[in-house]
Each structure stands twice: as structure tokens, then as C-alpha cells.
């Protein structure tokens, strides 16, 4: 199974240096880093949808961007179909990019306002030199637009993004990557800026693309509820680490890590008859996370923490088939 994985991430680390002023630098002489992604490993199979769920600042977007090498990793390996992506040269990487694409969060900011819908897609085709001549380009654009639900394509062809609704813009964003026939797509909060009534339409579209084209998806979100509807597996991140990764329903029904439990308890339920649960979590995400880099990241907020948690940095352990947890308390 592991060898047939489309994407294999091993001990990936992305650190960002913390800028200090000169005096501080001279006094300490040591660079400090924010560990946005810290020793993360997982696999994504062909046609798999993996959800990466966590709060803001947990490193989930950095993880997605590092996998596509939009941010250079500090350490660790990323294998795509067995190819080590981290060691590729710029030119080789460019060729591979066609297969590894991204859907952005903000459908308003990620489309060029001065290009028409057709030209936005045309740009993708031209950059990767996929078509011979304009007629073929046009045909590809038409197919792609109709595939993402912008039908009939002629109606959207000459429109500028400003004339589209949020949902339609996000469809354009998906159309311009679909035209490249990617195999792996990182979707970074693709629906969080859309209205509730159109969100599920985009989620269904992503599920459809997986069914029809076998596209693997890394679905980054803070919303467990929508992740439930599309993901095969969910990874929960906290301060740069994956603390639990399991098949979706297993995770939601039987979360093992205290942070996963807190996230699930906090998830909003759209039913006034359901009473709000007590939150099994203490305080806030620490402002200076470096204090917890040598211990369990979660111990200051964990209601079950004891002395051992302060001394040990727990690693992911398979406690049930495919259900991995990083917690000292789980045996």
C-alpha cells in the first residue's frame, strides 16, 4: 500500500526564521524559528481525499504550500509517484507542477480581474504548452468550463470575474487547474469565503472530480463538518504537528487525542435542541509556541496532562488499523 501512494510526505519540516533586532541578535547569537510544520509524515493514495483540519496558525496552509514547493521545506522529503520533489531543479519542478495544483481560499483575490474567464483558463494552457493552435485551446477551455458547472460555456466566456458570484468564481479557479489534468490538488479552504447556500455545490464538484478523473485531494479546512462530507481520512494538526490521523467516521465517532476531542466538541451544531457540550480544553493557543517545542505541544491546554506530558514529545502511533494518535496518554 505504502509504495502505491501517489504522495508520500516524510518528516517534513518548514521553519520560518523570527526576525530580531540587532541588539537581541548580538546578545543571543542564535536564530529562532517558528516551526510552522514540524516533522509531519503521511501518505495520500491515488484518488484519496485527505482532510487537514486545524485552527488558524496550526500550519495547515504552510503544509499544503510546502507540498507543492511554493514554500521550500526546511527538512524532510516529499515523494510524488516515487519522485523526490524536494530535490528537483526549477525546470523539472515546472514540468511536474502541471500534475500538482492548488485551489485557493479567496476566489475574489486569486483571479486576475482584467482577464476574461476564457483568458484565465487560456493562460494555464499556454504556460504548460498543452494545445496546438487556438482552436484546440478553445475546445479545451470549453470542456473544462462545462465540467466545473459553468454551462453553457459561451455565457461565461467573455465575462470578467467581477461579474461572477463567489461560487462561480471558485468554479473558474477549479476550471483553470482542471484543464491541466492534475493528479494531486491542494484545496486550501476552498469554500470558507462562500455563502452557505453554494458551499455544498463546490464540495460536490470536488467529489465529482475525484470520481471522474481520479484526482487526489488534500483538503485543508478548519471546518470538520464539511470535511466529513468529502474526506476519506482526516488529519488533525496542532502547532505544526499532526496529532491524530484516521478514517473520517472513526475520527469523528471515536476521537482519541484530547485536542481532536475538543475540536469535535466545539464544532457548531445547527440544531437548537442540541445542548452545547463543555469544552475539554483550557485557554488559548500559546502566543509563544517555542515554550512547548520539546514537550507535547498540547499539554498546557490539555485537561488530562501530567508531568510526563511536559517531558515527552509524543510521536504518532497506530492504535487501531489506520488510526494514528500522538499522545502520551493513549496506550
Amino acid at each position: 500500500m505504502k509504495d502505491r501512494a501517489l504522495l508520500k510526505v516524510e518528516n517534513l519540516k518548514t521553519y520560518f526564521p523570527v526576525r530580531k533586532n540587532l541588539v537581541e541578535f548580538i546578545l543571543s547569537r542564535k536564530m529562532e524559528y517558528v516551526r510552522a510544520v514540524d516533522d509531519v509524515s503521511f501518505n495520500v493514495g491515488v484518488g484519496d481525499i485527505l482532510g487537514v483540519v486545524g485552527e488558524s496558525g496550526c500550519g495547515k496552509s504552510t503544509l499544503g504550500r510546502t507540498i507543492l514547493r511554493l514554500i521550500e521545506p526546511t527538512a524532510g522529503k516529499i515523494y510524488y509517484e516515487g519522485i523526490d520533489v524536494t530535490s528537483l531543479k526549477k525546470k523539472e519542478m515546472r514540468k511536474l507542477r502541471r500534475k500538482m495544483q492548488m485551489i485557493f481560499q479567496d476566489p475574489h483575490g486569486s483571479l486576475n480581474p482584467r482577464r476574461t474567464v476564457a483568458d484565465i483558463l487560456r493562460q494555464s494552457v499556454r504556460i504548460h504548452r498543452l494545445a496546438d493552435g487556438k482552436a484546440e485551446e478553445d475546445a479545451m477551455i470549453k470542456t473544462s468550463l462545462e465540467e466545473v458547472g459553468l454551462r453553457p460555456a459561451e455565457e461565461f466566456w467573455r465575462r470578467y470575474p467581477i461579474l461572477l458570484s463567489g461560487g462561480q468564481r471558485q468554479r473558474v479557479g477549479i476550471g483553470r487547474i482542471l484543464i491541466l489534468q492534475p493528479k494531486l490538488v491542494v484545496a486550501d479552504e476552498p469554500i470558507s469565503m462562500l455563502d452557505v447556500s453554494v458551499r455544498m455545490g463546490i464540495v460536490e464538484l470536488l467529489a465529482h472530480l475525484r470520481e471522474k478523473f481520479g484526482i487526489s485531494l488534500i483538503y485543508i479546512t478548519h471546518d470538520l463538518a464539511t470535511a466529513r462530507y468529502i474526506c476519506d481520512r482526516i488529519a488533525i494538526m496542532y502547532l505544526g504537528k499532526i496529532v491524530e490521523i484516521a478514517p473520517t467516521e472513526d475520527l469523528l465517532k471515536k476521537p482519541l487525542h484530547p485536542y481532536a476531542r475538543a475540536l469535535i466538541a466545539a464544532a457548531p451544531v445547527p440544531d437548537p435542541r442540541v445542548k452545547m457540550e463543555e469544552l475539554p480544553i483550557i485557554g488559548y493557543v500559546p502566543l509563544i509556541p517555542s515554550d512547548v517545542y520539546t514537550s507535547c505541544r498540547f499539554y498546557p491546554r490539555c485537561p488530562y496532562a501530567d508531568k510526563g506530558c511536559r517531558e515527552l514529545d509524543p510521536q504518532l502511533v497506530e492504535v487501531e488499523p489506520n488510526h494514528y494518535v500522538a499522545c502520551c496518554k493513549t496506550k
Partner: protein, 316 residues
């Protein structure tokens, strides 16, 4: 007599292309012990409607008609000075994205005392003492009154916004999207705070949101807005158990939940109509699965049905 009664309120934006009917003939009321939720998609007029309650209308917007009766007086006929005294003291509002609504170059204590000095003749020391109490009320240590907004996290800034709004003991609190953009855990902590404040201060609240779960967790009564109109008004439980308007039905069905069985979710095809030249008949008709001929011809009135109000030709 309810605490607040809004009758036939109309707020239009006068653009060069014509009048955009952002809020078109809506009526609702809030009682002393109520939390009213206003729910709808972006652009449905919910923020414009509550801004009008404080008699704010950003140009080119204008309140063109209706009455807003607060404690037996019509806010729309008050003098400027009376309205100024009302804002903050009678009715207070926490603005959307309160994180960014705070003044970055004033400490939070200064921002709280500023409101107190506006409305009450108190000494500086008294005002600061109250500012500290306000912060404690929303779960922040009083010692942090001298901190600047950037020293707080998003959820804490939202709390500061609530501390400022409740500083002069208003008789009605308006919260505009209080938890949008916050993480789920912070969101839950804030909703707990809102529920707690309502219970402790006995404060009636109008809460605007696009999020059904926020309504479910805080509100007793809900008004569903669509394209500048209220299409359904009911108490929270019956709206959830048995929504009447097709839009409310679809809205509830399109909302995912991690509890219970994983049902089939729906999305509502299409988009709300432009309010510059809205269609004849029911505004929801183009997206409505149960549309009939009459829906294209006549606008449905808001009628009473089983203790709720609904505007749909299905109910006559």
C-alpha cells in the same frame, strides 16, 4: 409593547443606475427577554437593516420609510442629539470584524472609558475602574486595560468589542456576525460568553449571522432574510424542526453537521437576484423547487401560519 418594533422599514441605496432596495419593507420586533437572530446570505440586507436601527445609513444609502419604535419613541423622528445619546447608551452595537473595528493607537481601556465619558459624568478614576470591570466581565484580566489591540488575539479583541458596547449598560445589544472568522474553539468560548451575558445582564440581543449553528446556540427567535425581505419568522426550535419557506428549508438542508447520520446535503442553485431591478413576483422563485405560476406574477405577503410568519404562495 415590545422593546423594539420595526415597522415597514425601507433602506435604499441611491446609485447612478437607480435605487437598490437593500432593505425593502421589513417588520420585526424584539421583546425584553428575547434574542432575535437575523439570518441570511451576504447581500441580503441584514447589516443594512440593523444599521438603520441605530439610524446609520452609509451614503448613498438612505432610510426612506418605516418606523423604528424603541421604548415607545420613533428613532427615525428623533433629533440628531437624541440619537447621539441613544447610541451606546440605549442601543449598542458590536460591529462585524470587531477585531479590526478597534482603534489601533488607543489602549483598550481608553476605548472603553471614551464611551463612558460620552454618556456619563464620572471622574477619570471611576471610568477606568469601570473599564477594568468591563474587561473582567468578558473574561479578560482588568490589568490588561493598558494594552493595545494588537496585543490581543482575535477572539479577545471580539471580547473587547463587547466590553466597549456594554460599558454604559445598554438596553439592547446588536451583534453583527460576532464569531465570523474565528476558530471553532474560540467561537464556542465567545458564544458561551454571549449566552452568559444575556443571562446575567438580562440583555435583549439582536444577532446577525449567516451561520445557522450560531443561531441555534444563542437565539430564541429567528428571522430569515432573503434579498432585502424577511421571508420567515419563527421561534428557533420550530424553524429548525419544521421550516415553512422553501428558502429556509434549503438553507437548513445545506448546512453540514458532524453530529448524527451523514445525510444528503443540498446546495441552492443560482444566486440571489440583483436588487436594482428585482424580478416581478417572489424574489426566490428562480431558485425555488416548488415554484408555481403565481410566484412569477405576485409577490407573496407575509402571513401568519401556526404561530409563525411566512411569505410564500404555498401558504394561504
Amino acid at each position: 409593547m415590545a422593546l423594539l418594533e420595526v415597522e415597514n422599514l425601507k433602506v435604499y441605496y441611491f446609485t447612478r443606475a437607480g435605487a437598490v432596495k437593500a432593505v425593502d419593507d421589513i417588520s420585526f420586533s424584539v421583546d425584553k427577554d428575547e434574542t432575535l437572530g437575523l439570518i441570511g446570505e451576504s447581500g441580503c440586507g441584514k447589516t443594512t437593516a440593523v444599521f438603520a436601527i441605530m439610524r446609520f445609513a452609509a451614503p448613498p444609502g438612505r432610510i426612506v420609510g418605516g418606523k423604528i419604535i424603541f421604548e415607545d419613541r420613533d428613532i427615525l423622528t428623533m433629533s440628531e442629539e437624541e440619537v447621539r445619546l441613544l447610541r451606546g447608551k440605549g442601543i449598542a452595537m458590536v460591529f462585524q470584524a470587531a477585531q479590526n473595528a478597534l482603534n489601533p493607537v488607543m489602549t483598550v481601556g481608553q476605548q472603553i472609558t471614551e464611551v463612558i465619558h460620552q454618556h456619563e459624568q464620572v471622574t477619570k478614576e471611576e471610568a477606568w475602574e469601570r473599564a477594568r470591570k468591563q474587561l473582567e466581565l468578558v473574561g479578560i484580566s482588568g490589568d490588561r486595560a493598558k494594552s493595545y489591540p494588537h496585543e490581543f488575539s482575535g477572539g479577545m479583541k471580539q471580547r473587547v468589542g463587547i466590553a466597549i458596547a456594554t460599558a454604559c449598560n445598554p438596553r439592547l445589544l446588536i451583534l453583527d456576525e460576532p464569531v465570523t472568522g474565528l476558530d471553532v474553539i474560540v467561537q464556542r468560548q465567545l458564544l458561551n460568553l454571549i449566552n452568559d451575558l444575556r443571562a446575567r445582564l438580562g440583555l435583549p440581543i439582536i444577532l446577525i449571522t449567516h451561520d445557522l449553528s450560531v443561531i441555534a446556540e444563542t437565539c430564541s427567535k429567528v428571522a430569515v432574510m432573503y434579498a432585502g425581505k424577511i421571508v420567515e419568522e419563527a421561534d428557533a426550535v420550530s424553524l429548525y424542526e419544521d421550516p415553512a419557506h422553501p428558502y429556509s428549508k434549503l438553507l437548513i438542508k445545506s448546512y453540514p453537521s458532524i453530529k448524527g447520520e451523514k445525510g444528503k446535503l443540498v446546495s441552492i442553485p443560482g444566486a440571489p437576484p440583483g436588487l436594482l431591478n428585482p424580478p416581478v413576483g417572489c424574489y426566490f422563485e428562480p431558485r425555488c423547487p416548488s415554484a408555481m405560476d403565481i410566484c412569477r406574477e405576485a409577490e407573496p405577503p407575509l402571513v401568519k401560519k401556526d404561530g409563525r410568519l411566512v411569505a410564500c404562495h404555498l401558504y394561504k
